[in-house]
């Protein structure tokens, strides 16, 4: 009973705050409406008994939304003015598309014949998750991790317009790098 009530609250809350993302008139509120939607989804996953995944969703989404605040708001918007702005372009079209997609997916959930459960849940889902990822798929996972990391590093290297020759001089002989704002280690 309690579970049903919590699930209902989370489900309705997640959808409602998801809608709020497009209704509110400020980038900051949209960010936190999206965050609320994700957190409520995380709680719903906790109800499934997947505590690790549920808490991880809450943890990662809070951090991710704050990083998004840096990029979406600090770099693009007017920070001090809090100017109202609309969150959607092409209002009618976007509304039609999103309602259509929502109905399609919801209909899928209701009408698809879900398979019967065979076997019980594992005693420790966190351990089972770890073994599933790091067991036979370990090589793939390690490779994916490395590729992601390499992508991040190379993207950063490609974007920055200052290289080591700017920092240490043409013959790389400068003892202290010439940076607009130095770091804490003098290197």
């Amino acid at each position: 009973m309690t579970e049903t009530v919590v699930f209902a609250v989370c489900a309705v809350g997640a959808v409602a705050s998801g809608v709020m993302v497009f209704v509110v008139d400020s980038m900051a509120r949209a960010t936190f409406a999206l965050l609320a939607s994700f957190v409520l989804t995380g709680v719903a996953i906790l109800l499934l008994g997947l505590s690790y995944l549920g808490v991880l969703i809450i943890l990662m989404m809070v951090m991710e939304m704050m990083v998004m605040a840096v990029f979406m708001i600090m770099y693009m918007m007017n920070p001090a003015g809090l100017m109202p702005m609309t969150m959607v372009h092409n209002k009618v079209g976007s509304l039609a598309v999103s309602v259509g997609v929502f109905l399609l997916l919801a209909a899928g959930i209701v009408f698809v014949p879900w398979p019967e459960r065979t076997g019980g849940p594992p005693a420790d889902p966190t351990l089972a998750l770890g073994e599933a990822i790091m067991g036979e798929h370990m090589l793939v996972m390690m490779l994916v991790g490395l590729v992601l990391f390499a992508t991040m590093v190379s993207a950063t290297v490609l974007t920055t317009h200052r290289g080591r020759y700017d920092r240490y001089g043409d013959d790389l002989r400068r003892g202290r790098p010439d940076d607009p704002i130095g770091g804490g280690l003098d290197r």
Binding site: N78, P79, A80, G81, L82, M83, P84, H161, P180, I181
Partner: protein, 364 residues
């Protein structure tokens, strides 16, 4: 039961202290009184309940003070301290005003009514709160970012008296800076003027104890800006002790211990190293980076602590040094983020009372 009055009587006041040019003596007296009463000093008007103005009145400053006054939430009281002698009395009076609940309620009701009238009269639909939007400009990486206009001072804690640094910020990086002095007047610096107040009977401004007190005053300000309130408060206490007519026994040892503690702080060095480097053409007092400058203050303080070394103590800053420091501020803070900019200003410590009615050059 009058809960408000009961709580108010138990509350420790929190004072927002603004110093006008010519008010250094009053500021020292106020800081001393606030410290000895165990009151707090506010970082911003929003948290304060006392507005304490040190020094002579000035029309431009008064206009700014009215804005600060409007930002204080209330219960609130205002104290003017034109000269050091009146400090204790003015604070007592302000404290009594603060405890007058009937008057405070009238003030609050009046403000609420005025706010309602303002809200009813003019509503600017386009701008939230009727405030202008920030415009954009290129930053050092070529990104088009918003430009915020922020005036640092004169109503800012741990900041030179009357200095207003008009900055253009992108994020927290200073892109442009211009120096403006609020209430600049002819007159001499508190630290070089002959003493005639009863508290500071020492007549000679060249005396090592006066120069050490000036250095301590600069150092405590820098330490507050550097986020080390414990050392800064101790510095204030020692500064006040140095300005006493008769030094208590053991003051020298305590000064030495304090200076040694500050000098040894690696974290403080790490925070100030390489900031605001000034070349050899500047007056000797200002050369080097922020660390060099505060190290020289510590030398002066240690010299006063050891009578034998007083002969080698460097002379206090003159008006030429103050002028040079003021002219250096804009070029040194541009390109720096706010924390570094504040440390740079605190380490240059321009004595705005020594420059007279000097108009600084337009900044970078």
């Amino acid at each position: 039961m009058d809960v408000t009055g009961w709580l108010l009587r138990r509350a420790v006041p929190c004072a927002f202290v603004v110093t006008a040019i010519g008010g250094t003596g009053a500021r020292l007296a106020v800081e001393r009184a606030v410290r000895e009463r165990g009151w707090r000093q506010a970082l911003a008007p929003a948290e304060a309940d006392l507005l304490v103005v040190c020094g002579p009145a000035d029309p431009e400053l008064d206009e700014m003070l009215d804005r600060v006054w409007g930002q204080m939430p209330g219960p609130r009281a205002r104290a003017g301290v034109p000269s050091p002698e009146g400090a204790d009395e003015a604070l007592d009076r302000a404290r009594a005003d603060l405890l007058d609940t009937a008057a405070q309620r009238r003030d609050a009701d009046g403000r609420d009514r005025a706010a309602r009238e303002r809200a009813g009269a003019g509503d600017d639909e386009h701008m939230p709160g009727g405030l202008a939007m920030a415009d954009r400009g290129e930053d050092r990486d070529g990104l088009a970012l918003d430009r915020l206009h922020l005036a640092l001072g004169p109503a800012l804690p741990d900041w030179p008296a009357g200095l207003s640094l008009r900055t253009v910020l992108q994020g927290d990086v200073v892109q442009e800076a211009r120096v403006h002095l609020v209430g600049a007047r002819e007159g001499s610096s508190f630290w070089t003027a002959p003493r005639n107040t009863p508290r500071t009977a020492d007549p000679s401004p060249e005396h090592p104890r006066t120069t050490a007190a000036a250095a301590l005053d600069a150092a405590q300000r820098l330490l507050f800006v550097a986020g080390w309130p414990a050392a800064a408060l101790a510095g204030r206490r020692l500064r006040d002790a140095l300005l006493e007519p008769e030094a208590g026994p053991g003051l020298g040892a305590e000064l030495r211990r304090w200076a040694r503690g500050v000098r040894r702080s690696r974290l403080l060095r790490w925070a100030t190293d390489g900031l605001g480097a000034v070349g050899d053409r500047a007056p000797e007092e200002l050369r080097g980076d922020a660390t060099d400058r505060w190290s020289r203050w510590l030398d002066r303080i240690e010299a006063a602590a050891e009578p034998g070394r007083s002969a080698s103590a460097p002379a206090p800053a003159g008006s030429g040094t103050a002028r040079a420091a003021l002219d250096l501020v804009p070029e040194l803070v541009v390109g720096r983020e706010l924390a570094a900019a504040r440390l740079i200003v605190a380490s240059l410590d321009p004595d705005t009372e020594a420059v007279g009615a000097h108009t600084p050059e337009r900044g970078a």
